[in-house]
């Protein structure tokens, strides 16, 4: 057993922390939050300074953690421009990778991942969007997507839609497929969602597809395997959401520790001391669960039980930590970044499978391990 990260990863962690502390100024944090603007400049800077490194997964993981620790809105915006890229890496054709993935990896283009629909949040198999095959081999897409990250700024999005009706109620997840859709194509429109509680620097939109023609070469992988691709993707991204969550929780802990350092009256209260001890313990537990899941994933041996445990526990730790830190620091916290951290944290329990979904995954996969079908 070895609970330490390689030295170069810890070095990178320091570098990212320095970057975040320097670039995520109080003014910027507040500006992009209040104005609900995506920080293109910061994203560019992060790319250029090599903060975001998609080629080393541990590097990416600790970078996500450290960026979100200082500001989730700006932090997530710094790396989320490639959202969905794992799908292309794993299931895309060489042409798709060249045409769509590489420009994203070079920091030139922005991508999105469009699965959730207004009528089907966590219930991916319940989506209603359709892609109908045309005589010329192309597909016509109709439907709408909800809560799509990068929705109004993306150059293209990966869309999940039905290519045939479900064979039965139990097999609702069959006959779904994925395609790359360019946002500039006719029939595609995006409606930016304003008024999110938190992570307001990130872009979120509702997408509408009206008779959008998709050339056959934009279909990802095999027709009918879309649901499987999405679940594979979630097994990766859940770990990143867990990392964001740890970042938020650590950020909240940082703030209460900072106050304890400065304010002797505050830190002399035993109830405050216990709060710090409890919070530090939970943050560490969440981090260990996340690193364990990540360690398996990065060895190409992901364990869905461990992944969902990490995501669920880390997300709840994020809201718990932000809430608790704000509660004990009071007004002092309410007029600082802690207030934002609190608003940002709640989405962690919803993204990439709500806590409820994670628990179902844990239960089913855990019982499978125990020999139950």
């Amino acid at each position: 057993m070895d609970f330490t990260l390689p030295e170069e990863i810890e070095e990178k962690r320091k570098k990212v922390r320095e970057f975040a502390l320097k670039e995520f100024t109080e003014e910027r944090k507040r500006y992009f939050d209040e104005n609900e603007k995506y920080p293109f400049e910061i994203r560019k800077l992060a790319y250029e300074l090599g903060i975001i490194n998609f080629s080393n997964p541990w590097d990416l993981l600790v970078s996500i953690e450290e960026l979100c620790r200082v500001d989730p809105g700006l932090g997530i915006s710094s790396f989320v421009y490639a959202f969905g890229s794992e799908i292309l890496m794993l299931f895309g054709s060489d042409e798709q990778k060249k045409k769509y993935l590489e420009p994203v990896q070079r920091g030139e283009k922005i991508m999105g991942f469009a699965v959730t629909e207004p009528v089907a949040g966590s219930d991916v198999a319940g989506i209603a969007s359709k892609m109908e095959k045309q005589p010329d081999g192309s597909y016509i897409l109709n439907g709408s997507k909800m809560f799509i990250t990068n929705g109004s700024i993306a150059d293209y999005v990966l869309v999940l839609a039905r290519t045939a009706p479900p064979p039965s109620e139990e097999k609702r997840h069959h006959n779904m497929s994925m395609a790359i859709v360019e946002m500039k194509w006719p029939g595609v429109s995006a409606n930016k969602l304003k008024g999110k509680m938190g992570v307001r620097a990130t872009d979120t939109a509702e997408l509408v597809f009206e008779n959008v023609r998709i050339p056959p070469e934009n279909i990802i992988g095999e027709i009918g395997k879309g649901f499987y691709y999405v679940m594979t993707f979630f097994n990766i991204t859940r770990i990143y959401v867990a990392a964001m969550s740890i970042g938020i929780a650590q950020g909240a802990l940082d703030m209460i520790v900072e106050k304890a350092k400065k304010d002797k009256k505050f830190s002399s209260q035993e109830s405050i001391q216990f709060t710090i001890a409890e919070m530090a313990t939970r943050v560490d537990a969440a981090r260990l669960l996340t690193y364990r899941a990540a360690s398996l994933l990065f060895q190409f041996n992901p364990d869905p039980v461990f992944t969902s445990m990490a995501k669920y526990f880390a997300a709840e730790t994020a809201t718990y930590a932000a809430e608790t830190a704000l509660k004990v620091t009071g007004l002092d916290g309410a007029i600082t970044s802690l207030e934002r951290l609190f608003r940002d944290s709640k989405i962690m329990e919803i993204w990439e499978g709500s806590s409820e979904i994670e628990k179902l995954v844990i239960y089913r996969m855990f019982m499978k391990k125990m020999g139950v079908e």
């Binding site: 319940g126 109830s271 309410a334 007029i335």
Partner: protein, 348 residues
């Protein structure tokens, strides 16, 4: 609960759903509209604790609790505003006969006032007003309803002053909750001639807020939970309504039960003899409860809960802000511990 209070409950409930719900988003984005203040005033809500002759409704403790609870269930911002005007501003002004007539302006919605007590909330740099020569000068941070026409503020001589000029609010703070009210630092440079000393006992004033704050907390919980229950009956996932799933249904059933239990306690103590211990107990429990329930309600709504348009996330933010503005938890827990152990307790 007698007939009179039952009627009040239903009247305010109707007001909340007809007059507050539809403009909730506007309140959050732009503040409490002037017309709404007029409507609140004409119902007697703005001057809830003011005497009849000053345009008030002269509500008793139970009536006031019901009012705040029902307002908070639709708009915690409006409830907090009414609370601030009454429990702090009107109650303070009533202590000084010479300025008594100002209460009419407040209960009439003509002007609004605020009371500065952030310095009591363990706040690191609350700012300070110094009395120097003929002036009250300084800056106060974290002033809620900082666009008020009338401030009751402490100066460094330990006294509270009512001032109506010589101040201006600065840029707003981050706005965790109660977005219908302006929240910012305020600069003061007021001539002492225009400042009127108010002979108030701030501890007593604060003690009197436990019950109304509990009422707001319970109202927040009620508003959030009702919305969640309705949503769970409408929204489907995995081919079933959300209410059909045990973890969600049981969680809401548990919250519903606790809410009813707290609500009966609120009514009991609001109509019984004053009992500061019970009021403090209720406040400490109900503030935490409001936060937990509003968080649950948000979670039930999934991604939609995270959007302002659905009117759910505000309950969670407001509950959190109420837990901060509602009192210094640590000091109050020490106080409660001492009441319960009947000797000094909880001080280490």
């Amino acid at each position: 609960m007698d007939e009179e209070h039952r009627v009040l409950e239903s009247v305010v409930g109707e007001f909340a759903s007809k007059e507050l719900e539809p403009i909730n988003k506007q309140i959050e984005l732009e503040g409490i509209p002037k017309e709404l203040k007029k409507r609140l005033s004409s119902q007697g809500f703005l001057g809830a604790l003011a005497p009849y002759d000053l345009g008030g409704a002269s509500l008793d403790r139970l009536g006031y609790s019901i009012l705040l609870k029902q307002l908070a269930s639709a708009s915690p911002s409006v409830a907090f505003y009414v609370f601030l005007e009454n429990s702090f501003v009107i109650k303070s002004i009533l202590l000084k006969n010479e300025v008594r007539e100002k209460i009419g302006l407040i209960s009439g919605g003509e002007i609004s006032g605020t009371f500065y007590y952030s310095h009591l909330l363990n706040f690191l740099e609350p700012g300070e007003i110094k009395k120097i020569d003929s002036k009250l000068t300084g800056k106060l941070n974290a002033v809620i309803n900082s666009e008020a026409n009338l401030f009751i503020v402490p100066a460094d001589d330990g006294k509270f002053y009512l001032v109506e000029s010589g101040f201006h609010p600065l840029d707003e703070h981050e706005k965790l909750g109660f977005r219908g009210l302006r929240f910012s630092p305020v600069k003061f440079d007021t001539s002492i001639k225009d400042a009127i000393e108010i002979p108030l006992n701030v501890d007593e004033l604060i003690d009197d807020t436990h019950l109304p704050i509990s009422a707001i907390a319970i109202g927040i919980a009620q508003g959030a939970l009702n919305k969640a229950i309705e949503y769970a009956k409408e929204r489907s996932a995995f081919l079933h309504k959300l209410k059909d799933f045990q973890p969600l249904a049981f969680g809401m059933a548990q919250a519903y039960s606790q809410l009813d239990i707290l609500n009966e306690y609120l009514i009991n103590i609001a109509q019984g003899e004053r009992d500061i211990k019970k009021e403090l107990m209720l406040k400490i429990i109900s503030i935490d409860f409001a936060r937990d329930v509003s968080k649950l309600a948000l979670q039930v709504h999934g991604g939609y809960g995270y959007l302002m348009d659905f009117g759910i996330e505000k309950y969670y933010r407001d509950a959190m802000f109420l837990s901060i503005l509602g009192g210094n938890h640590l000091d109050e827990k020490m106080k409660l511990s001492t009441l319960i152990f009947q000797e000094k307790a909880g001080w280490i």
